[in-house]
Point group: C2
């Protein structure tokens, strides 16, 4: 393995000079710089990560905690992870992948060992056990998601409340009055994962304001669960003409069942989905949807951290404004047409 000292010798300068060429923290004459860079290239030198971390107290690593369970939003998680990794590289950081498995201990371990300079947490519960630890350390962190109390924290998330409102507004504008919400699996609500409840808040508040009737049913993914849920909905409120779906794995079952029951989309019922664009465009009906900007969230989180690590940036909550794209799954409410 090539060391700094070897590069220095090869270039005929001292070790510190090479270090300053690398870091740019002191001015170096053009000729010396070139000579050093040449030596670096010729010898194929890569600075040793451990030594660097030890000497500078900076690992240039960002830790990313992803949820262990894969009961929801797998493609979203993946997209975020990839966006985080690629964005981090452009800022000179690598990404350490931690699963939720260790729980709060992972936070202790990472901050205590100096393994990473900063952390990104996903799958944040409203009252997450990791939050006190984050508040008690001076290591920067960003949450993707929104806990109940955001004081002293930096968060990035889609504005799910506005998302809920937006879905309702779109359906209202089309004349729908009775709408049903196919929610996430019950477990997601029990866990108090913020986004599900916030969406529901938005849906409820706006539908009330607009004088609409709303039915909310959590739903596991898959056909059987969906069949039961759908039957119940039409049983309780046969006049339902609008659906909002917030569960990727319920989308296709819902469409198939509606089709099977002879209810045409969008002529008889309209469906709005809250899902990544990819799902919306690949479904059997091209879905009107509010997209989940996974990449943007991941990128934003890293940029916040990079700013904080540079001494810039501060704590703030960034809620990304939802955007609804009209596709082929929504249309005027049937009663509104005559």
């Amino acid at each position: 393995m090539v060391t700094l000292a070897e590069v220095a010798q090869h270039a005929g300068v001292s070790a510190s000079t090479v270090s300053y060429v690398l870091s740019g923290k002191r001015s170096i004459s053009a000729t010396t710089r070139q000579r050093v860079e040449q030596s670096i290239r010729e010898l194929g030198y890569h600075p040793n990560a451990g030594a660097r971390a030890l000497a500078s107290s900076r690992s240039n690593i960002i830790a990313l905690m992803i949820p262990l369970r894969t009961d929801m939003y797998v493609p979203v998680m993946m997209e975020i992870a990839i966006a985080v990794a690629t964005t981090a590289r452009t800022h000179g950081y690598d990404v350490l992948l931690l699963t939720g498995e260790e729980g709060p201990d992972a936070v202790r371990r990472v901050t205590g060992s100096g393994l990473a300079d900063a952390m990104i947490l996903m799958d944040v519960q409203l009252d997450d056990e990791r939050l006190p630890l984050l508040r008690g350390t001076d290591q920067p962190s960003v949450l993707i998601g929104l806990p109940a109390d955001t004081a002293g924290l930096t968060c990035v998330d889609l504005d799910f409340k506005a998302t809920g409102a937006l879905c309702v507004e779109h359906l209202a504008m089309l004349g729908h009055r009775d709408i049903a919400v196919i929610g996430e699996a019950p477990a997601v609500y029990e866990r108090h994962t913020g986004f599900a409840e916030r969406t529901l808040d938005g849906l409820r508040a706006r539908s009330q304001e607009l004088g609409m009737r709303l039915l909310h049913r959590p739903c596991e993914g898959g056909y059987d669960a969906m069949a039961v849920t759908l039957a119940r909905i039409f049983d309780e409120r046969p006049s339902t003409t609008g659906f909002v779906v917030q569960n990727e794995s319920a989308v296709e079952p819902l469409l198939a069942l509606l089709r099977q029951q002879g209810r045409a989309v969008p002529e008889d019922v309209s469906v709005v989905a809250i899902c990544p664009d990819q799902v919306a465009t690949q479904a059997s009906v091209r879905l009107t949807s509010v997209s989940i900007p996974a990449q943007e969230m991941g990128r934003h989180a890293v940029e916040q951290l990079a700013a904080k690590l540079d001494g810039r940036g501060s704590d703030e909550v960034v809620l990304i404004a939802p955007e609804l794209t009209v596709r082929a799954s929504t249309g005027p409410a049937p009663t509104a047409t005559h």
Copy 2:
């Protein structure tokens, strides 16, 4: 930040003694050990990762290179990544997430900088540019996937050739004679990603042996692409009664289109999928499938590496035997029933 020296002082021993308590590399009396462990707990000590890496030339980190593109097998990638991360932790390793973006440079960077002790590579091309680099370093690595030349490499993968054969056998046993393969997107074949071609090899070889006729059509995911592909297949070979699907995002479109055309599954046509179990059980028809053992591959890869890093283990190719689970999408060929 608490240091080894502070722990040593607190426990009234030397730094090296604390180090040996931690590593277990020399015998320590029970009383001393307990005193040290007590101090560690009281002070909340975590060894500094950088210092440890520098002194021991071991980072206790495994690098995982995942593909940047998300055009296939997203849930599989995710499952592998999670399995790798959790298994790594049980062996005392953390996982560094690298995307394919950097290409071969990532390998150079990681091995050169001592960032990681070992690497796991996914999305391996038949003639991958990273392979020469891996062969030229003494850093252990494992490929998830199979390149053309495996000399000097350790690989883990599903035995896709046997998988292809198994699918054909199952359909043959049910009396099907004309079968169609809905393959991965054309780009996957062009990239020469081994698994797709190996599956095809297995399908072709076994169907020839069994005197069956086989049609192979690559297919992008989604409804439109599937509609075109399916039309072409029934056009060219109307007698087709068996399908093998190797593209998750083609599964649901295929089923929907068949249903729409009045072809009952499994009465008129049978469908065998090659996909994770989760997809097979959540589809609109419970699919007979060969599962992709993502977790097992991830776990196995880490265990191979852990063994190598312990000086045990050696280069070998492990092909996991496919298992076909019969569900509700396959049945006797229609002509075979009378």
